[in-house]
């Protein structure tokens, strides 16, 4: 039924699929339930999971508050410098993670241009949850913006125009028509944003080694105790991420 070219391409493609799939499956089965359950009772593990999950959640909420309006503007308006704004939003994807950490630390440290005034207000970013949230927001906000934008672009602007002729103002039209219709994409973007936030390590380790986030804990265990002690924590964290990933799909 399929010709040789298709079969050849399919074989080539399978390598990549297996290369990604096998390490993940192998990880999932490589620790016994006893070790996992012991780790689930370790207060350090629980607290680090809480730090990761909670910080990623706050970062996602902030990304939504500022990202959804931006996405709507990008979907509906053409303006001078639009290309530049789009580029800026995408930049964090290509910046090395440790560089991100350095860049954020320079500006948010208690002597940095933003960190200094805020530290007088008692807001400290080095080695604090705020710092973790900051790092996560920086690397993950683009997911909310890009996904929400796609959602808004799939809503025909003429539908909004019709709502306008029926007496609905712009803000009301946004909340009654555009937002509900783009909601699915916004939710997908939020979940991707959350997952990307939880996955971050390089920027966090520089900005805020403590309080330990889950990905930092895995690294610390690996350095101090070796592979077998870090594996159960890795399994717990990947399970949370994969569960959410399956929800998105």
């Amino acid at each position: 039924k399929y010709d040789y070219t298709t079969i050849f391409f399919a074989i080539m493609g399978s390598f990549l699929v297996l290369f990604i799939l096998i390490p993940i499956l192998n990880l999932m089965v490589s620790s016994n339930l006893g070790a996992i359950s012991a780790n689930l009772h370790d207060p350090q593990v629980i607290s680090s999971l809480f730090v990761s999950v909670y910080s990623a959640l706050i970062a996602t909420i902030i990304a939504l508050i500022f990202g959804v309006p931006l996405a709507y503007i990008l979907a509906r308006h053409d303006f001078f410098g639009k290309g530049l704004v789009e580029s800026i939003i995408d930049i964090p994807i290509v910046i090395p993670h440790t560089v991100t950490g350095i860049a954020l630390l320079l500006i948010f440290t208690s002597t940095g241009i933003i960190g200094a005034p805020l530290s007088k207000l008692g807001i400290i970013f080095t080695n604090s949850i705020s710092g973790i949230i900051l790092a996560m927001l920086f690397v993950s906000a683009s997911f909310v913006v890009n996904s929400a934008r796609e959602g808004f672009e799939s809503v025909d602007p003429r539908m909004e125009k019709v709502a306008r002729t029926l007496g609905s103002g712009t803000l009301r039209t946004f909340f009654v028509i555009s937002f509900p219709l783009a909601l699915r994409s916004i939710v997908v973007g939020a979940i991707l944003c959350w997952a990307r936030a939880i996955s971050e390590f390089g920027a966090i380790i520089i900005l805020a080694f403590y309080p330990l986030a889950a990905s930092t804990l895995i690294y610390e265990r690996f350095v101090q105790f070796g592979l077998s002690d870090s594996t159960p924590v890795a399994i717990i964290l990947i399970s949370i991420c994969l569960a959410l990933f399956i929800v998105v799909r």
């Binding site: 539908m159 709502a163 306008r164 002729t165 103002g169």
Partner: protein, 348 residues
């Protein structure tokens, strides 16, 4: 009722260029033009969906140029219906009343009446995607009309529908126009639609108004080659016009001389509508000033009618019914006579 003065707007590949137009109260007005001519943008400008670069728009003698759409009191119906997909038919129609915070019972009553009028009551709780095209367009109409707009704007409302639904809706448009005492402006690229509905037509060409007039005027006296070609005149022939006898104009094409009752001299085009030309197999005496002998060169069977091309020095296209065609026993190469009145020759 609606007055447009020197309206211009330039946006990407769309352009409206210095359009001035007046549409009367309760008129059924049609913007007719090819796709990309800017007719949709003109309609959206009237609805307030764009800010014009320059010019003014008046509705009921009020300058609404800077009014947002929600303050203009116009209803809008799109080709692709643009129903709110997350709301039922009932909720779609009720939308404008909900915005106006109308009493819940009154909303139910009014929406009910509207649904009855369009025969869609049984669809009240269905979502738009489950409806046929015709049902969706009726819902869109009901939604636009329930707020009792002074003006109803419709952008190609029939283009996405099949022939039968189209004819049904043409009848409903006429009914709405009579019963609602409403000014309707409809955009279309289909001349037949315009003929069946419009009281007056504006031909739109590359963002400008090429000709405005009653359907009959535009149809019988196209102002330039673009209009003539667009409305489907088949015979467009060049020639040189000179004053002839009996207050007529003679147009010499180089091969034949045609007489017209219109006055123009120099290089001209003239048009004759295919159905204004009579064909016969023998010379007959009629009141027609123009009669030529020629050869039948082409026969196109178009089903309902037959289209012939006759070469009398110039090529003329004419149409006749199948019965006449059978009666005359025509075939290619046959010698025939064609005749048409001088009043049927339109010069420009």
């Amino acid at each position: 009722m609606i007055k447009i003065e020197h309206l211009s707007k330039d946006w990407k590949e769309f352009k409206i260029n210095d359009v001035t137009l007046e549409i009367n109260e309760d008129e059924y007005f049609v913007f007719l033009g090819p796709s990309g001519s800017g007719k949709t943008m003109l309609l959206e400008l009237i609805a307030g969906m764009w800010t014009p670069d320059s010019g003014k728009i008046y509705i009921n003698n009020q300058d609404v140029t800077n009014f947002p759409p929600e303050k203009r009191g116009v209803g809008f119906v799109y080709q692709n219906y643009m129903l709110f997909p997350h709301k039922t038919v009932f909720e779609n129609i009720a939308f404008g009343l909900n915005i106006r915070k109308v009493d819940k019972k009154k909303i139910e009553e009014q929406v009910g009446e509207m649904m009855d009028l369009f025969g869609i009551s049984h669809l009240a709780h269905r979502l738009p995607r489950t409806l046929s095209g015709g049902e969706q367009q009726r819902t869109a109409l009901a939604r636009a009309l329930i707020i009792r707009p002074k003006v109803l704007l419709m952008d190609e409302p029939l283009s996405a529908l099949d022939r039968i639904t189209r004819e049904e809706l043409i009848r409903e448009f006429k009914k709405i126009h009579e019963e609602f005492n409403i000014t309707i402006i409809q955009v279309t690229h289909n001349f037949d639609e315009a003929l069946q509905l419009a009281e007056r037509i504006a031909i739109i060409k590359q963002g400008t108004v090429s000709q405005v007039g009653s359907t009959d005027e535009v149809f019988r006296r196209p102002k330039d080659e673009f209009v003539a070609d667009f409305v489907g005149t088949e015979n467009i022939i060049r020639g040189v016009a000179t004053d002839g006898e009996e207050n007529l104009t003679s147009v010499d094409t180089g091969n034949i001389v045609v007489e017209s009752t219109e006055h123009k001299t120099g290089k001209v085009h003239f048009t004759i509508r295919p159905e204004a030309i009579t064909v016969s197999t023998s010379r007959i005496t009629t009141s027609a000033r123009n009669e030529f002998k020629g050869k039948l060169t082409e026969i196109y069977d178009l089903g309902t009618i037959i289209k012939l091309t006759v070469d009398v020095g110039e090529q003329f296209v004419l149409v006749l019914t199948r019965q006449s065609f059978d009666d005359l026993e025509l075939n290619i190469g046959k010698e025939v006579f064609i005749s048409f009145k001088a009043t049927a020759v339109n010069l420009f």
